[in-house]
């Protein structure tokens, strides 16, 4: 009799409510750290970092009455692991259609892991201009850093094994309720 392989176990570590609260808290922390919201730029790292950035911008705008500018930073062409990558999907277009000089740019991603995406994002930003400061906001920090990179704003620290995966889902892009799951091998 053939054995049906077991489905990998998933554990929901953040539901929609927890994600909403975490994003709201990060938005307030960003406001606290940056007195002049009009000089602020939030840049999401595709794909789901863009959605997190969008929600942060909405929260900041509703609290401050000023909408920070928002951009997108695709890191694919700045990564250093081209030869070992297994999947090549379409790149997103980097969009930073404003002068970065004298601004504070908050890079936003859904999951912080090795730090390589963040390094690549900083390289990408550098080819557009020179912001005064770059900060990093992430919904989930799963550890296992390979570079000296530390987030300034964290939704939740989720300790993981390297063999596990973190799966972030958003209703408006994935057609399932918002959630952060740990997928065990």
């Amino acid at each position: 009799m053939t054995q049906i392989p077991e489905k990998p176990a998933t554990v929901v570590v953040m539901d929609a409510d927890a994600i909403r609260k975490a994003i709201r808290r990060i938005a307030h922390e960003i406001i606290e750290q940056n007195s002049d919201v009009s000089r602020l730029v939030l840049a999401g790292i595709p794909t789901r970092g863009v959605e997190v950035a969008r929600r942060l911008v909405d929260h900041i705008a509703s609290v401050e009455g000023v909408r920070p500018e928002m951009g997108v930073v695709d890191v694919s062409m700045h990564r250093d692991d081209l030869a070992t990558r297994k999947r090549f999907t379409a790149l997103e277009e980097t969009q930073l259609p404003f002068d970065l000089e004298g601004r504070t740019l908050v890079l936003v991603d859904d999951v912080l892991y090795t730090g390589r995406s963040c390094r690549a994002a900083m390289d990408a930003v550098a080819s557009f201009g020179r912001p005064d400061r770059i900060q990093l906001a992430v919904l989930v920090d799963r550890g296992h850093r390979e570079l000296p990179i530390r987030p300034d704003y964290v939704g939740r620290n989720v300790p993981t094994e390297r063999t596990e995966k973190i799966r972030v889902r958003f209703e408006n892009s994935d057609n399932v309720p918002d959630s952060v799951q740990v997928v065990k091998p």
């Binding site: 090549f88 999907t89 550098a126 201009g129 994935d174």
Partner: protein, 314 residues
């Protein structure tokens, strides 16, 4: 959520072999790379450490330069080899030359060759990525992609787009690549030219055929004029250049009848006064220089996607 399309090829030999999803992925990737040209620092490190060999066994200026610049923008190292300066002149076979290039740790070989199938021949034998920069009358995939990219940028979805390709279709690798890509993306393609250069048999590519340019002037949203290739032409295909111009050239009088939003395209180099009047070539409908700019983005996308799937160098 639909599964994103992935690129798994190490070579780009022909658009005929690609699915519409793969073509769309290339075009989407090119769109992202076009943005690199608008940055303060027009360079990304994606192919740092990779070596690209431009191996041109046929003369070319713009395609070779475009590939070279695309590679530089991706931080790759570039070596240019022209056939006249290569060992092919001494009797070395194409395969041996290419194996030697690979032994020099070339990761990507961009090949232009006068024989159809040359790029496929090398792609099957080398671990390096092989990019076809034109093989005889077969295909010129990056030219086809940049033409389609230019149309897509202007019109968005290409489904139903009325495209006329005018001129020497029979000998044109550009036309063949264009037709394959456009048909796969749902465009309505009409091939126009004299019966000797646009035989009815080309309908098998999925395009319509007409021998009167008047049939397409008012309806075409894109008119892509092909260069009359003096180097491939023999006298018997049409009596004279003057006759060709009078029957198929985009003259000032004909240009007055095209749609205001019609794109006039040409792969270059232009024979002014033959395929197109000088005034029309410099007129408001022409996107010929845009095509050149888009060619850079398309070639960056091709190099980026294929290099990631190349085998280890020898």
């Amino acid at each position: 959520m639909t599964t994103p399309v992935t690129w798994t090829r190490k070579d780009l030999v022909a658009l005929d072999a690609l699915s519409s999803d793969e073509i769309t992925l290339l075009l989407d990737t090119a769109k992202a790379f076009k943005g690199v040209g608008q940055r303060t620092l027009k360079k990304v490190p994606a192919l740092r450490g990779k070596t690209l060999v431009n191996f041109f066994v046929e003369p070319s200026t713009r395609t070779r330069t475009s590939f070279e610049l695309a590679a530089h923008r991706l931080s790759a190292d570039v070596v240019n080899i022209a056939a006249t300066a290569s060992s092919l002149q001494k009797g070395e076979t194409l395969k041996d030359t290419a194996l030697n290039l690979q032994a020099l740790l070339a990761d990507i070989i961009v090949l232009r060759h006068s024989s159809a199938g040359a790029a496929q021949f090398l792609a099957e034998r080398l671990q390096a990525s092989v990019i076809n920069a034109g093989d005889g009358s077969h295909e010129h995939p990056t030219q086809g992609l940049l033409d389609v990219f230019t149309m897509r940028e202007r019109f968005g979805d290409l489904a139903g787009l009325k495209v006329a390709i005018v001129g020497d279709i029979l000998f044109s690798r550009v036309a063949r690549s264009n037709v394959h890509a456009l048909v796969k993306l749902g465009a309505d393609v009409t091939l126009v030219g004299p019966t000797t250069l646009v035989p009815r048999s080309l309908e098998s590519l999925g395009a319509k055929v007409t021998h009167r340019i008047d049939d397409v002037l008012e309806s075409a949203q894109v008119i892509n004029l092909l260069r009359i290739q003096h180097e491939r032409q023999r006298k018997e295909y049409f009596p004279s250049l003057g006759e060709y111009t009078s029957l198929f050239g985009l003259t000032k009088a004909r240009a007055a009848r095209i749609r205001p939003d019609c794109l006039v395209m040409h792969p270059g180099p232009i024979n002014r006064g033959v395929e197109i009047d000088s005034d029309v070539a410099d007129g408001p409908n022409n996107v010929i220089l845009e095509q050149v700019t888009n060619g850079l983005a398309v070639r960056m996308a091709v190099l980026y996607l294929c290099a990631g799937n190349a085998g280890a160098a020898v």
